[in-house]
Amino acid sequence: MFYRLSGIKPVSYAADAQLWPVPFDRSLVAVIIVLAVAAPYVLPSLYLGSYLLPWIIWATAALSLNLLMGWAGQIHLGFAAVMAIGAYGAIHLVRAGLPFELALLGAGLLSALIGLVFGAAALRVKGLYLAVSTLAMQYMIDWVISHVPAISGGSQATLQTPTIRLLGLPVVSEAGYYWTALAICILVTAFMLNVERTSFGRALVAVREKDFAAAIIGVNAFYYKLAAFWVSSFLGGVSGAILAFCYYRAVTPEQFHLDVSIQAVAMVIVGGMGSVLGSFLGAGLVLLAPIVLNNLVVLAVRWLDLSLPSEIVALIPLILYGGLIVGFLLLEPLGLAKVYDNVRKYFLAWPFRNVQR
């Protein structure tokens, strides 16, 4: 029905190396891109600004983290710190008079530089030790950001983002911010889709599976681990800058606390480690589930005439991230992407006419 591929196998290398060999996938992607670009004309401003825009930005961030966690197999509990460096870097660069495009690059480079420090720990240790040292670095960068007034303007301060100009045109409208974020998101997605087809991605996977075994067959684990941290931090810094400029439009140190790192980790795990589609699904679920659940709780409270203190409603996202991480790791370690994949595979062979009985 959908896929019309049952029983057909790729017969050439070119067909095998295609990004989307199934025609249905190609048209699906095209439709989604058209819808995403047209969203400002179609969606009411509330949905665009408070659901779709953060979803796209967080999916970009989740993709960047997924490169590290899913493909390279390194644990990173300090991703919010990397994003914070990107956000603050971009703001200061734009304030110093750099055009936004260059400031984004600069912020990415700055994050990548600090990200390499995380990477240096990864060269020395792995697994649990890496988790703990990235956690420690998150605390330290948090502390530095809120204690150095030159960066944050003091621990209570809020930095307003200046108006950005893209290619000379000022970006002021909701739609403009959305398209900026979407363009970056599409770029990062295209990069990630191609990572797994290049030698770089395959080397990362080899390092993920067993780094010393990879070293024996000639993959330079040292280099690829560092490169994974570099690339991931670069993209993370860019997405942090986009998050600050296009969504928050003002930055405080609290926006990049440890909880945010955990949120990003939750997105990667819930979506599925090492899956591009999964990062989008995971970001969507982790962002939207607390909102939906909040509304449900509020409804239930009104219905049953209960009085629930507001602090408890505030705890719902925490319970939810934790529950989602634990639940997905126990029940479907490959995440939402695998759930989608199962459905897709079912329909790939759907009419089952080629099955020999």
Binding site: I75, A120, V132, A136, Y139, K210, E311, I319, G322
Partner: protein, 295 residues
């Protein structure tokens, strides 16, 4: 900076460090038996404190009944976590297991305040408020009692690893496959270590809860406990003791020197700094065993 003040800071720091060591003890117990690092240890301490508070205040039990009962509850809580969450993860990559315990930490950190209420709760263990004065040094009585309990527990667990059951746990930590083939119930041993970790966490949580009140911030003890466990070497219980003292002293002395210069808050980064330096200079810690990997 005069010497008496420094002495006072160090003395209280040692006692605080011993209390931190209690929570680190749980991490080490679990790592020693199953090679899993439990990032949910801080949340387990918090749950232990909440349970003790619930028994003492909500249920109105006397102290001598409430404390042992909450320890018992936490023992089964620990084994329960192992049974429900960790056992299905056998054979999964480390990254998955670490993330699972982190998920547990977040879940518990949200769940416990949601059930018991978010306001800070007072946990009164009947320890007198007046400080003890030794020469020029004031020592907080609550810290002294807690430090003594912690020291006793850590020594007890060192002795425990000399007993038959302790030998079983060490065998399991050494080689799960080999212990299985000589007739050790590996799952039961790992469950036991989780139960003991739950008890250690409960002790830590209750003692800290009596000092600073019971609320979700107790789960922040995780970072200090991790610093101690990493510095001491993840599989060494004497290491916990010594690293606990080191971290405790550093944590009270360093802010006294640095806070005036950088504007406060250095206390929170000392543990992180220790973790980083340990991982970079000597990943297996002071007393830990260096593992050699083979393809």
């Amino acid at each position: 900076m005069d010497i008496a003040f420094l002495l006072e800071l160090s003395a209280n720091g040692i006692l605080i460090g011993l209390m931190y060591a209690l929570i680190a003890l749980g991490i080490v117990l679990i790592f020693k038996s199953s090679g899993i690092a439990n990032l949910a240890q801080g949340a387990m301490a918090m749950v232990g404190a909440y349970v003790a508070w619930a028994l003492l205040v909500l249920a109105g039990m006397p102290l001598w009944l409430a404390i042992p009962l909450s320890l018992a509850i936490m023992f089964f809580f620990g084994t329960g976590i192992e049974r429900v969450a960790l056992r299905p993860m056998v054979g999964q990559p480390v990254i998955m297991v670490v993330m699972l315990t982190l998920g547990l930490e977040i879940l518990l950190r949200g769940l416990a305040p949601a059930i018991f209420g978010t306001a800070i709760k007072r946990l009164d263990l009947g320890i007198p408020q007046a400080p003890i004065i030794v020469g020029p040094v004031l020592i907080n009585t609550a810290y002294l009692v807690s430090g003594a309990v912690a020291l006793g527990l850590v020594l007890l667990s060192i002795m425990f690893f000399g007993t038959r059951l302790g030998t079983v746990l060490r065998a399991v930590s050494d080689d799960q496959m080999a212990s299985w083939s000589v007739g050790i119930f590996v799952e039961r041993a790992i469950g036991l270590s989780w139960g003991l970790a739950g008890v250690a966490a409960a002790f830590g949580g209750i003692l800290w809860g009596s000092v600073q009140g019971v609320d979700w911030t107790l789960s922040l003890l995780l970072i200090k406990a991790l610093a101690i466990a990493i510095l001491g070497g993840l599989d060494s219980i004497p290491g916990v003791l010594i690293a606990g003292v080191i971290i405790g002293v550093l944590e009270s002395v360093v802010p006294a020197f640095l806070d005036p210069h950088v504007g406060g808050g250095t206390r929170d980064v000392v543990a992180s700094l220790v973790i980083l330096l340990t991982v970079i200079l000597r990943p297996h810690g002071l007393f830990g065993r260096e593992d050699i990997e083979r393809v």
